[in-house]
Amino acid sequence: MKPRAGIVSFAHLHAHDYASALGDLSGLAEFVGITDDNPSRGREAAERYRVRFFEDAKKLFEETEAVIVCSENSKHLRDVSAALEGGVHVLCEKPIATTTDDARAMIEASRRANLQLRIAFPVRYTPAVRQAKQVIESGEIGRIIAVNGTNHGKIPGGWFLEPEASGGGAVMDHTVHVADLLRWMLGTEVQSVYAEIGTFFGDGEIDDGAILTLELENGTFSTIDPSWSRGAGYPTWGDLTLQIVGTRGVISVDAFAPSLTVFNHDTSSTEFLSTGEDMNRLMLEDFLSGVRKGAPAGASAEDGLRTLEVALAAYRSGRDHEPKHARKNSA
């Protein structure tokens, strides 16, 4: 049976990527509708993607088997819990939540309901990352000594800049992507985090530039640059790069390397375009097939929690100028 799917909230712009991908996946799932605590935003999206708008989220849950939650980070607990209580599987936008208490409550709710709670880490599905993981596992570059990772972007607007809603700035927004790849590709956990954090690029007060240094349990060390350091004039949204240094070689990943450069005469601007398989579509395919088969696929809620812990440890380190254990309660 084809699962019926919905989207909860268009607060996060990735909801649009998922909505387009769901449209493309009509053979695999039926995109039923949208609910949103901001009804005008939800109605507009429903119109755009030609699906129904559900004023009452419970009604959406009655007509679906799975939803994607794209509300503000701080509302994830509320919306994910409601969906699970409504009896549907959930794919939740990253970061899983803004506090570990919220994340644990979500994991508990999914266990109680015996329903899947997965986290949206689409970068796992980019071809360069998947192949890099295979090269690491093949042993071709020896043991992994270190990883130099970046996830750059432009300064977002709206609730992303409000700590109560987002839980933090660039460190909260981007750290989790690279931290997830490190854990997933190397099969290890993050032990401790050191961070230098600042506010440089926008008008706001929230952190927008940082360098994190991670110590991993397998002896590898890594840095993550999550900065919103790309300005309006940058030819693309940002990047995700990994320099993976092994004892016998190096893997260089530029997951969204531009394959085309557009020099626009009218706007006097330059744009980088990257091509290849759509990571969002691949991620949703995986999630939906996991729902269909009853075999959870992709990143788990525990993966979401572990990466959130890295971002939160970075904030503690940035404040105290010393390395912090990723698990707050460990020695």
Partner: protein, 327 residues
């Protein structure tokens, strides 16, 4: 000006080649403990080969001593040359320890204009232009800087690069370039945190990731690699509130010469084919002009000492796992 070159290893030969293109520079002698290296280098420069600094200055009338020895020997030869009233060009890092660096500065305290330290990156045209842009305010407030410097593993006398005690590894020997450039561009460093491969994996390989926090608030991420399995390369990215500027040596190739059946390009510390004047030539021309005119050089002994201070702090942090405060 009459130049005596001490040390005909990798960087000594780079300097020697640059001197051949500087009309006022006359290399009169080359000294190297590996005498066959001195002989070969002397031949290319039409000068005389010696076994040591002492033999060189006894046999030739030398104005400028260019010291391209392994770092741990800088102190001894620089002090002798200072005593003998020579102008001294000292390859970076100024020394292996702050104590040695301070002793060298002290030896030149009456004639600081006689000491030049080879922080050549300041003479790379793209770095110099970047510095201008920063000074003009074209970047606005600078937030996050990323630099990268990767080199195949170098073979030196007695494999001294592989000996941490002699070279300090890439953190002290290689990243000193970036530490000097960053301090020149963004001011004093407040705090340093670093990790490297030492003690995890070793051999002829080290990789380091260093974070610098500047008094200005800016943050720099400095990547260094010895044993990089590809030709030498470097990159810089400076993100400011008004502009983002990048340098990437792998993407800048105004000239490529492809020869069938030729050997592949080997890695080395500087690009094999230099388009136009090499930064080493610019650096040495500048130093020689300063020696001639008494003009203050672009890099002071104190600058070199401060760059070393950052490098040693990074090495200390890498060893301890704790940040090191510099101020």
């Amino acid at each position: 000006m009459k130049i005596g070159l001490v040390g005909a290893g990798f960087i000594g030969c780079v300097h020697l080649d640059a001197y051949t293109k500087i009309p006022e520079a006359q290399v009169v002698g080359v000294a190297d403990v590996r005498f066959e290296n001195a002989v070969a280098a002397a031949e290319t420069s039409g000068s005389t080969a010696y076994r040591s600094y002492e033999e060189l200055v006894a046999g030739e009338d030398v104005d400028v001593v260019d010291i391209c020895l392994p770092t741990i020997f800088h102190r001894e030869v620089a002090l002798k040359a200072a005593r003998e009233g020579k102008y001294v060009i000292l390859e970076k890092p100024i020394a292996r320890s702050l104590e040695d660096a301070e002793v060298i500065l002290e030896a030149f305290s009456d004639n600081p204009e006689r000491l030049f330290v080879g922080h050549v990156v300041r003479f790379f045209p793209e770095y110099a232009r970047l510095k201008n842009l920063i000074d003009e305010g074209a970047l606005g407030e600078v937030g996050v800087i990323r630099t990268s410097r990767k080199s195949p593993f170098l073979s030196g006398w007695n494999d001294w690069y592989a000996d941490w005690r002699s070279s300090g590894g890439p953190i002290v020997d290689l990243l000193i370039h970036d530490f000097d450039f960053l301090r020149w561009s963004f001011g004093e460093v407040e705090r340093v945190y670093a990790r490297n491969a030492l003690g995890r994996q070793y051999g002829r390989l080290d990789y380091a990731l260093v974070t610098l926090r500047f008094a200005s608030g800016a943050i720099a991420h400095v990547e260094g690699h010895w044993g990089y399995p590809a030709p030498f390369c470097y990159a810089v990215e400076v993100a400011g509130s008004r502009a983002l500027v990048t340098i990437d040596s792998t993407r800048y190739s105004p000239l490529m010469v492809l020869v069938a059946d030729g050997d592949g390009e080997d890695g080395s510390e500087s690009p094999e084919r230099q388009v136009g004047k090499s930064p080493y030539q610019s650096e040495l021309e500048h130093f020689l002009a300063c020696a001639r005119t008494g003009q203050e050089p672009a890099v002071s002994g104190e600058d070199a000492c401060e760059a070393l201070r950052i490098g040693l702090a990074a090495a200390q942090s890498a060893a301890s796992g704790k940040p090191v405060n510099l101020r």
